[in-house]
Amino acid sequence: MKLSFNIALRFLNSSKGQTFLIALGIAIGVSVQIFIGSLIQGLQIDLVDTTIGSQPQITITSTSDDKLIGDYESRLSDISSDYEGVKHVSPSADGPALVTSDEENYSILVRGLSFEAAEGIYKTKERLVEGSLPENKNEVLIGTTLKDESGIQIGDEVDVLTSSGENQALTVTGIFDFQVANLNSSWVLTTLETAQSMFSYDDRITGIEMQVEDVFLADTISSDIQADLPEDLLAENWKDQNASLLSGLNGQSVSSYMIQVFVMISVLLGIASVLAITVVQKSRQIGILKAMGIRDSAASLIFVFQGLMLGIAGAILGILLGLGLAYVFTRFALNPDGTPVVPLYINPGFIALSAGFAIVVSTLAALIPARKSSKLNPIEVIRNA
């Protein structure tokens, strides 16, 4: 074992240029893998974050006739305590309404929230571009689009007509921007009590919203919750509602895997062929070692060790190269505001996996020349002097 390792090391050392080139080949494979992987993962995380990061990922609604959920307090605390991976559980009381300004009617969705609980989901504080959050009853926030279209300003009192025909005067305390035009024009945020009294929900709500730690587990958690819910309550998750986004993400993942697999296959073929050549280059040495009585297995091990060492060197070099590439990318591929075009996601687990994969692949690639060297008959080398 030790002798094989020693000879492998000497062989690699004796042709430094060749060794460096093979290691570089592996390194480029690993770095491309790390870079593409980090890029795709970053892209996905960014996309998921912008799409559903500021939205509830699981929503519980009622299927009863009045669409209302009663006795929600205990249900809220049950959900946050009973299900792992659930965060930011928040009640909402929503209802459609019309708001009139300058003789124009605007269709709105009044959303009564517990701002404290909803902060985790909607990050209203961050989204607030003017004014402050509603603190008292009948205070509301409106979106930037509604503000621009209707000319309503902070401090204005607006008349809102609910679908049940009731009128309510509400005071605008702030303007939000969710960066989605639809929400900015239709949503009017207010406190839970305001919405409950406006729509005569009493102490009931229309939905329980929550986010989960791992957005991709939302469907599993959702079905777990559903299982414990009474029949008239329905848990839905973002995946059901965003099938096209999901298939897009999947397509991205698959193409990323494809790229990585093919990069590794080309690395494997490269190493295998170069090592096969080194068997020819070193056949004289292998022949003489066999004449001196080295066993076939030990002769094979020389090349396996070479593959292993090349894999390790290539992996280390590849990690450095990949991280360097990532650094350069985040440093120079920038949006006008100075943030990276795509925020890379550096996942140590993924990097370790890529490196480990490269090492395994290099070692496997070395099996071909190892087999060849095992079969090499010393007599061929000696006879063809």
């Binding site: 002798l3 004449a291 009585g293 000696i382 002097a385």
Partner: protein
Amino acid sequence: MRNVIELKKINKIYGSQVKTQVLFDLDLAIEEGSFNSIIGQSGSGKSTLLNIIGTLDQPTDGEVYINGKRTDQMNKNELATLRNETIGFIFQFHYLLPEFTALENVLMPYRIQYGKVPADKLKRANELMALVGLEKVKNNKATNMSGGQQQRTAIARALMNSPKIILADEPTGNLDSETTETVYNLLRDINKEMGTTFIIITHDRRIAETADRIIEIKDGRIALDI
């Protein structure tokens, strides 16, 4: 003296489509401690004979006994061990490992068999380097030595595991006449002092002239055996 090598009815046929018989019913016994030279024209089968004795090649049929053990039925690992312990090879193209120093090359047969080199074996390797007159260049890489130095290193290497038999194929074929003299005298001294059995294929008159026994191989048979 007992026979350290015995060949019985050795035939060697190369090729499966076009068959070429290289050795014909060859019988040969070599006495322990003797200095034998094999001569013959190229293509006579003398190298094949030496390679069969050295277990590097297998006879098509016939029996080969090395040191009393039948080798033509051994598996590859048994042969490797037998070669390592019993036989030292010296080839025309010395075949040192260029990646290693002269001393490391000399130690190689020991390391192949036993792995780690204890102090007394390192001492032996150094003594062998001194014996072949190469103490000063023992830490040179093989590529940084002259042909004669490389060949003497190969001789020291062949001696490392104190083999009973040394097989040499044109050991001086690549050397100038003065170096040939040095190498030849070295082989002869080793034969006398250590009792090592030598079988040397050679074209060199001086080596053949002083051998205990001259075996001429012609057309795959022993033509002359004196």
